[in-house]
């Protein structure tokens, strides 16, 4: 064959360059510096903004250090269980809507309502119904994290090319074959994008749950509200920082997972 195959070189994600990571690190250093200066300037009211080293000391202190990491573990548990349920429910719901038009017509309005209700308004009711324990905290996560999963999956399933569908139709493929070999693979990037958003929201849900439902083994949210009430500012800052880092880690994990799963054929952002 005379055709000289011209290959399109694939864009590769190389190592992050200095220009990528240096500026945010510099900004972080600046913020730490400003914290020291502000702490000094605040004088008697220095408790409003503890020195970074005071905050760091909390992590290694024998009393509060282990407590913070232990409650982070409880929060993680709630967030992950909630997320797993939200992903499963969201994907199944979207598949049902994509398979049967009447399911979409009947339930999609409620998905949108779910998205628009202020979740904090419903939280007391959840405690009222399900107790003020683990289950209630998980339900808060699911309520917050469900919508992005459903809407992303549905969008993904519905973005299948017409010609791809016809390709399968011409071979007489069954509904199940079309779902598993065409629609779900096409929807995967959208599903992972949804999971990344839902994961972050699930962490929010777990912490909100901690604020309201403090029976059993509440997580980092309970500690945050306790330290806040007692004006223990280094401990408060230490807990907030850990909770924030946890959210970032979860987001990055799902980003990585998405790239692992579909990055070969899709530019997963």
């Amino acid at each position: 064959m005379a055709d000289s195959p011209e290959l399109v070189t694939r864009r590769r994600r190389g190592r992050p360059r200095v220009s990528t990571w240096a500026p945010p690190i510099a900004l972080l250093a600046l913020i730490v510096g400003i914290a020291y200066v502000a702490n000094a300037l605040l004088g008697k009211r220095a408790f409003l903004l503890p020195r970074p080293d005071q905050v760091f000391a909390v992590y290694v202190s024998p009393k509060n250090g282990p407590a913070i990491f232990e409650s982070l573990l409880h929060t993680t548990e709630v967030a992950l269980v909630g997320l797993a349920i939200a992903i499963a429910l969201g994907v199944l719901w979207a598949i049902a809507m994509n398979t049967a038009k009447w399911v979409e017509r009947t339930t999609l309005p409620y998905a949108i309502i779910l998205q628009s209700i202020p979740i904090l308004a419903v939280v007391p009711l959840i405690g009222f119904w399900f107790g003020y324990d683990f289950v209630a905290r998980v339900i808060v996560c699911v309520l917050i994290a469900l919508f992005p999963m459903t809407s992303n999956t549905l969008f993904g399933l519905q973005s299948v090319d017409r010609s791809h569908k016809e390709l399968f139709r011409l071979q007489g493929a069954s509904r199940w074959t079309v779902l598993t070999k065409l629609e779900l693979p096409t929807a995967l990037p959208a599903i992972f994008a949804g999971a990344r958003i839902s994961a972050g929201l699930s962490v929010v849900g777990a912490i909100v749950g901690d604020f309201f439902f403090q029976r059993g083994t509440p997580g980092i949210g309970a500690l945050i509200s306790k330290f806040g009430a007692r004006l223990q500012s280094p401990e408060l800052f230490a807990s907030i920082l850990v909770a924030s880092l946890f959210g970032v880690v979860v987001y990055l994990f799902f980003q990585w997972l998405g790239r692992r799963a579909v990055g070969k054929w899709y530019d997963f952002g």
């Binding site: 055709d3 195959p5 010609s163 016809e166 070999k181 693979p185 054929w265």
Partner: protein, 252 residues
């Protein structure tokens, strides 16, 4: 799967007085009589929107004609879409295996068929590549290979090379002629390029637009297999001219 195998010069596709009216009242096709026999390569040329693609969609069963009869004497149909319609998450190998997979062909058979088809279109060595790493021409070859695994008795082509550059298109035309000579399938090819139509076909059908009607039919006298140089002969140019005139008249 039951397979109707037709005899040497049998009619594989027969349209008689076919009309297609869409729900919005648009008459896409009207009074279409058309046959494709084994060993024939029929090309339909016509202006954009004249319903030539609808013709193929009816032939393949994707649409049902609103009037007239359509008979297809085989269920081994190859359908080549306007774009390559490869699944982006599947490698060349796995894309080529897809149709056999959908028919539940055992793994070993699938592999053997895919290997043969990939070899036929000259993509050996690219089995592991994903579609995004291929040029437009190579994607179209992969698409062709995928249809070849069905061992079709009739091939339906819906402007398959329309999006390719001229050189790639000419190469793929030559490839297609070679495959046609080797595999002895029947072809129904849609294009808006008159020279492509004359070069590939044994018969060229000219359609007019809105509603799509057949305005003229030309037998192409050049023997198969065709020498690519034939495109530069006066005879070829003369026939291209005639078809172009018919196309232009049908357009008014």
């Amino acid at each position: 799967m039951p397979t109707a195998t037709a005899t040497a010069t049998a009619t594989l596709l027969d349209f008689s007085d076919v009309q297609m009216t869409f729900p919005d009242g648009t008459v896409a096709l009207s009074g279409i009589d058309l046959t494709v026999k084994r060993g024939e390569f029929v090309t339909v040329v016509g202006p954009s929107g004249c319903g030539k693609s609808t013709l193929l969609r009816i032939a393949s069963g994707l649409e049902t004609a609103s009037h007239g009869s359509v008979e297809l004497a085989t269920d081994r149909i190859g359908y080549v879409f306007q774009d390559a319609t490869l699944l982006p998450w599947r490698s060349v190998q796995s894309n080529v295996e897809l149709l056999a997979e959908l028919h539940g062909t055992p793994k070993a058979d699938r592999l053997a068929k895919a290997k043969e088809a990939i070899d036929l279109v000259g993509l050996t060595g690219f089995e592991k590549h994903l579609p995004r790493a291929l040029s437009g021409g190579m994607r179209m070859r992969t698409s062709l290979a995928r249809s070849l695994t069905l061992d079709p008795e009739i091939f339906l082509f819906d402007e398959p090379f329309g999006a390719l550059d001229e050189i790639t298109r000419e190469r793929l035309n030559d490839e297609l002629l070679r495959l046609f000579a080797e595999k002895q399938f029947a072809g129904l090819f849609i294009t808006h390029s008159v020279s492509e139509a004359v070069y590939l076909s044994t018969k060229v059908i000219v359609m007019s637009g809105r509603p799509g009607k057949i305005v003229d039919t030309f037998e192409v006298p050049f023997a198969m297999p065709r020498d690519p140089e034939i495109r530069f002969t006066g005879e070829f140019a003369g026939l291209v001219g005639k078809v172009s005139h018919a196309l232009r008249e049908g357009h008014h």
